[in-house]
């Protein structure tokens, strides 16, 4: 209870689902062999943390930000530029953390103070504009960021796949730097999610929910809503930057397509809404569903697409083409906003839908 900050899943099915996901993630290196499974698992961890931090904004304060990938990208690029420029050692990782997190924090502070005074819609538009400018900057300043190609770099020795700790004899699984990196990612993401749970269940988190429900009233009660919203924006930004750093460490690469693209922003939105807004747990469920679908649904669709084209149906092969998987998730997204706005988690908890 303590570790979940007194906010348990409150549904048996949900608890079982979460336990299964966490156990599967913990055991991935040993039960699902192969690089793909490990990549998928690491991506689920990173996105669960990233989406949870976005949930703090969207679900708990009700403000839509389109700049979340910008902070994610700042983290990724901080690691990439630092390890690329200063060499693969722990000192450069420290430099990246010391430079990246304050940068994300200051930017979030500036955006928040500038645009959170007024309505949610204004904040959404400003963040969209700032994030797109940042994306253009990152892909144009190629001397710093590597442009469209991004930056590949080497990890510190301890984390490299070549580093073998225990020989091949440990139940037949090699324990190498890659596995260590995976557990580093997993535990860091778990810590961030638990920290977010702590934040949303603190008095501060309650004020955020009050602002979401009725900003005017929260202000009348004496809370300075602009500052509360700005703090929430800053916390979310710092956690997103941390997730970005882990992402860069895992991929050994940072580029516009893996960290800054608008499509990642849409992915985050899809995950948070499908999982369930304002629950934090929804982030884990949403990330797991979405990334599993992203990696394995396409195979299914490709079978369906070939079947449809063999049956000579018009249009359907194109709609079922594996590259169009986002179309179906988009439809699911609209349906879930409309029919079950509390997402999978809200559905499982079975409470009446909260009014926004």
């Amino acid at each position: 209870m303590m570790i979940l900050s007194g906010d348990p899943p409150r549904s048996r099915t949900l608890s079982i689902l979460l336990v299964v996901i966490v156990l599967a993630l913990l055991a991935t290196p040993f039960i699902f062999p192969g690089a793909k499974a490990l990549n998928v698992a690491a991506k689920i961890c990173i996105f669960a943390a990233l989406v949870a931090s976005y949930d703090l904004l969207l679900g708990y304060t009700g403000s839509v930000s389109f700049a979340h990938t910008m902070f994610y990208g700042i983290g990724s690029y901080a690691i990439a530029i630092s390890l690329y420029g200063l060499g693969p050692n722990w000192a450069s990782v420290a430099v990246a953390v010391a430079a990246g997190l304050p940068l994300a924090l200051l930017l979030a502070l500036a955006i928040g103070l500038f645009s959170l005074r007024v309505e949610a819609i204004f904040f959404a538009m400003i963040t969209l504009a700032v994030a797109s400018a940042f994306l253009v900057l990152a892909s144009q300043l190629s001397w710093l960021t590597g442009g469209e190609d991004g930056r590949s770099f080497q990890l510190p020795e301890l984390l490299r796949p070549g580093t073998v700790f225990i020989g091949k004899e440990w139940f037949g699984f090699p324990i190498n730097g890659r596995i260590l990196t995976y557990y580093l990612v997993l535990s860091a993401c778990a810590l961030m999610i638990l920290a977010l749970l702590r934040v949303v269940n603190s008095p501060f988190g309650r004020v955020l929910q009050a602002i979401r429900e009725n900003r005017f009233r929260a202000e009348a009660l004496g809370y300075r809503t602009v500052f509360h919203l700005t703090y929430a924006n800053c916390i979310a930004a710092v956690i997103a930057a941390c997730a970005g750093m882990l992402n860069a460490l895992w991929l050994r690469y940072a580029g516009p397509d893996t960290s800054l693209a608008f499509s990642i922003m849409l992915d985050i939105l899809l995950m948070v809404v499908i999982g369930g807004m304002g629950t934090i747990y929804g982030a884990i469920i949403g990330a797991a569903i979405f990334i599993l679908a992203q990696n394995y649904l396409q195979a299914l669709m490709s079978i369906a697409s070939t079947a449809a084209s063999e049956a000579g149906l018009p249009l359907l092969p194109g709609l079922l083409h594996p590259d169009r998987w986002l179309l179906w998730l988009g439809l699911l997204f609209i349906a879930s906003v409309y029919f079950f706005p509390t997402g999978v988690v809200g559905r499982l908890r079975g409470k009446p839908a909260a009014k926004h």
Binding site: L128, A133, G330, I334
Partner: protein, 336 residues
């Protein structure tokens, strides 16, 4: 306190011309910076033409927001769809479009543009009924729903037209430029300028001289009051939404011809630009939108000419500058 007698006409609202002067001042300031007069004229015409195209795309968005407090994040999809639909007419009839006669060219271009506007207008009807109607008054859900619509629309376009870039060449008669002395003005830009001005004047006339316009303006200012007077503002809004979507489609056709290519991603790209324009102009204001569009285009063109690197973030800088001066945009129309 002066008494206002019942027979007096209402006091005239104070005319606010400072924003109107802004583009003029900016253009004049650029004369010494650009240096040569001929490049200045070319740049200015280019920015005005680009500004008109952006205005056509943005006008619907700002009215829709002003009237019903609905911000359509999927607006960019209409732009892309408009451009794609036009290729359906332009590509099969490419021989007409490339014939060296203005009349034959227009015989393809006008139906293409009308078809685009028809399709995007009809889609606007569907989107309003299906996506926007269930979530009136709920900003968060509106943003999510319309973003979902954007995803679905974009993916459908990929499914129907394929992921490749489709070329969309300008008709032969519109290529090249008029040469006046040592000033070159591209024909297509002149046409875009003309169409943009016509649409701006038409919107202003409808808004200021007709009963529908009166209702729209009243609705922007105070929706409940108009409803209380017995007008069905939802129907009015549906009309505005469809018109806005159709204009976005037209803007898409013009932008596609301007760039001479079409891709589903132009929707995303232009959404950002259009949002910046709408914010600069003040949500709900057509005049503000018009000026904002010209300002954005001017900053892009002059900036690109003088300091190419700055052009990347010039829009943001412009937006910050304008919002420092007037926090709610050039013309704050809505009371929200």
């Amino acid at each position: 306190m002066s008494e206002i007698a019942a027979t007096d006409t209402l006091p005239k609202p104070r005319r606010d011309i400072a924003p109107l002067l802004l583009p003029v001042v900016l253009a004049l300031l650029m004369i010494p910076l650009v240096g040569s007069a001929s490049s200045w004229v070319t740049l200015t015409v280019a920015s005005l033409a680009m500004g008109m195209m952006i205005f056509i795309m943005a006008s619907g968005l700002t009215l829709v927001f002003g009237l019903m407090d609905v911000l359509n994040f999927g607006h960019g999809a209409f732009i892309a769809i408009g451009a794609y639909v036009a290729t359906l007419v332009l590509l099969p009839l490419a021989s007409w479009a490339q014939a060296d006669s203005l009349l034959t060219n227009l015989a393809v271009l006008v139906p293409a543009a009308l078809l685009s506007m028809g399709v995007t207008g009809a889609l606007g009807l569907v989107v309003e009924r299906v996506l926007v109607l269930p979530v009136y008054g709920q900003h968060l859900k509106q943003i999510l729903m319309t973003t979902g619509g954007l995803i679905v629309a974009e993916q459908t376009m990929y499914a129907l037209f394929g992921p490749q870039i489709i070329p969309m060449p300008l008709p032969a008669a519109l290529r090249g430029s008029f040469i006046l002395g040592d000033v070159a003005i591209s024909k297509y830009r002149l046409l875009a300028l003309l169409i943009g001005l016509v649409i701006f004047v038409a919107i202003e006339l409808v808004l200021n001289r007709t009963k529908i316009g009166l209702l729209i303006r009243a609705g922007v200012e105070n929706r409940e009051m108009v409803e209380a007077l017995g007008y069905r503002i939802r129907r009015l809004f549906l009309g505005v939404f469809m018109t806005g979507s159709a204009l976005a489609g037209l803007g898409g056709v013009m932008w596609g011809l301007y760039r001479e290519q079409v891709h589903a991603s132009i929707g995303d790209e232009l959404t950002v630009l259009v949002f910046i324009v709408v914010i600069i102009g003040g949500l709900g204001s057509i005049t503000g939108c018009f000026i904002g569009a010209i300002l954005v285009a001017m900053v892009a063109n002059y900036g690109g000419f003088l300091v190419p690197k700055l052009a990347l973030v010039s829009n943001i800088l412009l937006m910050v500058a304008v919002l420092m001066w007037r926090p709610r945009g050039l013309y704050a129309v809505t009371s929200r």
